[in-house]
Amino acid sequence: MVEFADENIVKEYITAKIDNQLFGFDISEILDVFVPQSITRVPLARPEISGVLNLRGRIVTVIDMYCLLDIKRNVQRTNKIAVGISHKSALYGLLIDEIGEVVKLKKSDIESIPDTLDEKWRSVSSSVVQLSGNLLVILNIAKIFDIIMVQNAA
C-alpha cells in the first residue's frame, strides 16, 4: 500500500499508457520523460532490458515495460517514450507508449490489488485506483528492480 501520513494528504501520480492500460508512477520518483534515441543493445541481458543509451552525457539503462509486464505487442509502436528514474544511483528509463496527465489522489482513492490481477502485474505494483471508469495500476519502482534482480539470479 502507498504510505499516506494523513487521510487528506494528496499525492500526485503521473499516468502512463502501456498497451492502452493506464499505469501510475509516484511523481516524486520521476526525474524525466524523454524520447529514447539510439539505444545500444546489451547482448545476454534479460529481454526486458532493451539496452543502454546516452542521455545528455549520462548512461541510462532502458527497461521495456511491455516485456516486463508480459504484454504482447500488437501494434508496432512508433512513438516510444521513456520515464526516467533513478535507482541506487544509476539512471533507468522505463519504456512506455504514452505519457498521460498527472492525477492527484487521496488515501481514500487507493485500493489494494485485486487477486484477479495478472500475477506479473501484481508483482510490480502496489495498489490500484478506479479512475473514471479506467483502472489505474500504480507501479512500485523498487519492486520492479527486485523482480529483475531475482530473475537475474535465477
Binding site: 543493445r41 546489451v42 547482448p43 541481458a45 543502454v52 541506487k88 534482480m149 537475474n152
Partner: protein, 973 residues
Amino acid sequence: MDELIAEFLEETNESLDVVDEQLVTFEKTPDDKEILGNIFRLVHTIKGTCGFLGLSRLEKVAHAGENLIGKFRDGAIVTAQAVTIVLQGLDRIKYIVAEIQKTGKEPEGNDNELIDTINTMAKKSLLPGQEADVPTEKKTKKTSKKKQEKEQGNETVKKTETTIVEDDEEQSQDISLEELERIWNETEVDEQIVNKNVNVKGNELQDKEQIETPSSEQKEKPPVNFVQESQQKIQEEISRQNDEAKAKPEPQRATAESIGMQQTIRVNVATLENLMNTVSELVLTRNQLQDMVRKEQDTIFKAPVQRLSNVTADLQENIMKTRMQPIGNAWQKLPRIVRDLSRELNKKVNLQMNGSETELDRQVLEMIRDPLTHMVRNSVDHGLETTQMRKDLGKSETGQIVLSAYHQGGYIIIELSDDGKGLDLGRIKQKCLELELIKPDELEKMTEKQIATLIFRPGFSTAEKVTNVSGRGVGMDVVRNNIELIGGIIDLSTQKGEGSKFTIKIPLTLAIVSALIVGVKGEHFAIPQLSVVELVRVNENTNSYIEKINHAPVLRLRDKLLPLLHLKDLLVLNNDEKDIHSQTSEKSSAMTEESVNKRKNIDVVNTETEINKNDFIVVMHVGDKVFGIVVDHVFDTEEIVVKPVANILRNISIYSGITILGSGTVIMILDPNGISQAFGENNSNTENYAEKASDQNQRAVLTNSMLLFYKDRKKRMPMAVPLELITRLEEIKTENIEYSVDRAVVKYRGKLMPLIFLSNDDDMKAGIINVLVFTRGEFSVGFVVSEIIDIIDENLNIEMHAEENGILGTAIFLGNATEVLDVGYYLNKDFSKWFLSTERDLNSYKNVLGSLLLVDDSSFFLNMLTPVLKAAGYDVVTAKSGEEALHIIETYQEFDLVITDIEMPNMNGFELTEKLRKIPKYREKSIFALTGDYTSESIQRGHQSGFDNYIAKFDREGLLELLKIFFTENKAA
C-alpha cells in the same frame, strides 16, 4: 573524534610506517647515522605530540623507545635483540594508536613490562668510552607539565627513574641532553620556524606545532653531526652551531623551509574522486564536441574546440596526478615484515626494492597492497631456502628478494623475484591431485608453465605444514583475484634451484583505459587493450589455417593452436551456423600488435579460413589462457572512461563496464576475464584439444619447420628457409618502399628496415609483396619473396650443394626440389653489422670482444642497452646500483671496463668511481661515465673524478664506437 587527534593519528601512522622501514635498514647498516637520526626524530615527534594531546600511555612507550634509539644514535652498539625490542615498542604504539582510532581514547592497561625491557636494554647498550646514560628524563618531566593529567603515568615514570638513576656515571649524559634541549629551545630560529609552520599549516594546529617543531626540526642537524664525536666535542659543537644560528638566522630559516615545509595541503579523497568524475564527464563532452566538429568542414568552432581539447587533456592529466601515489607507500611495511619473517624462519633475507617512486592510482595502490604483502611473505617462506640449505647448495647465505616497479606504456609492471629454490612442479602436481584441484588426465596435458600457474587455483597450498606465515589455504588465488579485479594480470616464471619471478601488470588507473573498439553484427564493443596480444587479419589472400578440431574452430598461430570463438556466438547475437571451413593454403599476413610478454615462438601466421573475408581475430591473453575472438570489424583504439554498469546488468560477467564514445554512442566494455570464463564453458573441449595438439605441434617444431616460398612470380623452383630464423611475415605495398642510394628500405615499426630482393624481376617491384622479416636485437632485415607456399615439418637434408652464392643447396620438400636459402650470405654481403651478431650466435659466445659491467639505476635503460652491447659482441653484466656493482666486482669477476650512470640514488657514479679506484685491480681499469647531463662542466668534473671517458646517455652509436676503439686499443696493448 577531536580533529586534532584525528590528524595526529594520521601523521603518526605515516611516521610509524617510515620508522618501521628505516629501522630494518638500520639494523643492516648500523653505522648509518643519518637513518638513525631520522628514526630518532620520528619517535621523538610522536612522543612530543602525545604529551601535548594527553595520551599518556602512548607517550610513555614512545619515550622509552626514543630513549633506546637515542643510545644508538649516541654510538651504542646495535644488536639484533635491541632492534627487536624497539620494534616491539613500535608495535605497542601501533596497537594503542589503532585503539585510539577505534574508540577515541587510549586502551586500558599499562606497558610497564615492555618499558622495563626497553629500559633494561637501554642500560645494557653502553656507549663506547662511557658506561651508560640517563637520556631524556628531564624532557619527560617538561612535557608532563603540559599535560593536564598524568596519574597513571607517574608510577611508571618513577620506576623508570629509579632503574636508571642507579648508575652514577649517567649524569654526564643527562646533563648534555638537557643542555641540548635547552639550547635548542632557546635558539632564536625556533620561533621563526614555528611561525612559519603555523602560517603554512593553519591556526588550529598552532599549539601542536609549537611542541612538535622544535623537537623535530631542530634536531635535524645535531644527531648527524655529533654521534661520532666525543662528549666534549658535542658540547662545543652545540654552542658553535647555536652561535651560528644566532648569527645567521636567515640561511638557517631557509634550510628549515626546504626540509620540512613542502607546499602541500591535505585534501579529502572524496573531493578528488568527485573532481575526477567531473573531469571524466568533461572528457566525454569534449570527445563528443570533437566528433561533431570533425564532421563539419570549415567551422568556426574548430579552433576553440581544439583549445578546449588541449585544456581538457591538461586538466585530466593533472587530476590523474593528484590521484597518483608512489608505489613505495604500499611497500613501506615490507622490510619490517621480511625482517620479522626472516628471524622467525631463520633465513637470511635481503629485500631489495627498486622503483618505489613509481606512481600509480591510489585506488589501484590500495588494491595491490595486500596481494603484494602476501606474495613477499610467500617468497620468504616458500621461495627461499634456509640458510643451511643455501650453504649446502653453494649459494650465498643471504637470500635475495627483489621487488621492482616501473612504467611501461600506460601500465605499471611490478616484478617480484627471489633466488630461492623455485617452484617444485612435481610437488605442485602431487598437491593438486591430492587436493583434487585437477584431474590426472588434465594434468598430463599441461606444460610446465601451466603447471606453475596452478598455484593460482583456489585452495592451493604446498606448504608442508601450516605455519604462522603461510599454508592456510588463503593463497595465490586471492592474490590473482585481487589483481584481476583491477584489470591487471599476473604471470610467473620459475627455474628449479634458481628462483621464481612473478610479474604483475596493472593499468595505471581504472577510470580511463585504452580500449580496442570492435564490431560484430553491427554492434560495437570495447575490449581493454591490456589483454589484447595481437590482431590477426583473416582474408582471402592468406596462407593460413583455421582448423577444426572436434567441430570447433582453432587458429594455428605461430605453431600454436588457439581456440577460437566468434564474438557473435559468445554474445549469442544470432544462432547462425558458424561457417568456418578448412580450405587450401593461401597467403598470409600478420597485422600484429607486439605484445609485451614475448613468447619465443616465431611470429608467422598461418590462418586458413573463409569465416568471413576480412574478419579479424583478436588474440587475447588472460591469465594462463590464450585464445582468439573473431570479430567482423576492428575500428580503432580509444581512451575510454569506464563507467559501472547498472545493477541489473551486473550479473552478466562478460561486461566490465560501459562507456560513451566520442560519437556519443554508448557501448559495452567486454571483460577479458569474463570472456575467458565464458570461453571455458563454451569451448573447454576444444581448448584441451587445442592445447594437446599444440603440444604435439611444438614437438614437431623441434624436428625442423621449413617455410617454403617462391622468390619471384615465375614460380620456377620453390625455396625454403628454416622457420625459426624468421621473426615475422609481412605484406608490404610496393609503393611504400623507398629507395635510398642503392638500397630499398621500408618503414617498419617506426624504423627503416632494409629490404633484400631475392629476385631481380621487375614485376616484384609492383603491387603487394611478401616480406620475410629477420630480426636480431634491434636490427631487422626483410627478404622480399613473391609468394609463401607452406610451412612443413621435415628434416633439412640437403642433397646437392649449390655453386651459386646465396643458396646452401637443394633439398626435396613435398616431392619437389627446393633451393635452401643461405640467409647468412645475404646478411654478410649487405649488412656487416648484422653478421657480427649472427656470427656471435653461431659461435655461441666464444669470441667475446671484452667484458664490461654496466651500472645504471634504471632497469629500463639496462634492458635497452644490454642487448645492444651483447649483440655487438661484449660480455655484459649489469648492476642496478653502485652497491651492487661493488658487490659484483668483489665477489664475482673482473671486468675489462666499467660503464656507469652518474645520477644514481645512494651512491652516484662519482662515488662509485672513487670506491673502485681504491680497489687495487681497478686502479688502472677504465671507467666510462654515462649521463644525460652532457655539458662541458659535467664532463670536466667527470674527468676529474677519474672517469676515462664520458658518453651521452642516449648516444648508442657513440657508445658502440667508443667501445670498439677502446677494445681494439686494449687488445693491441
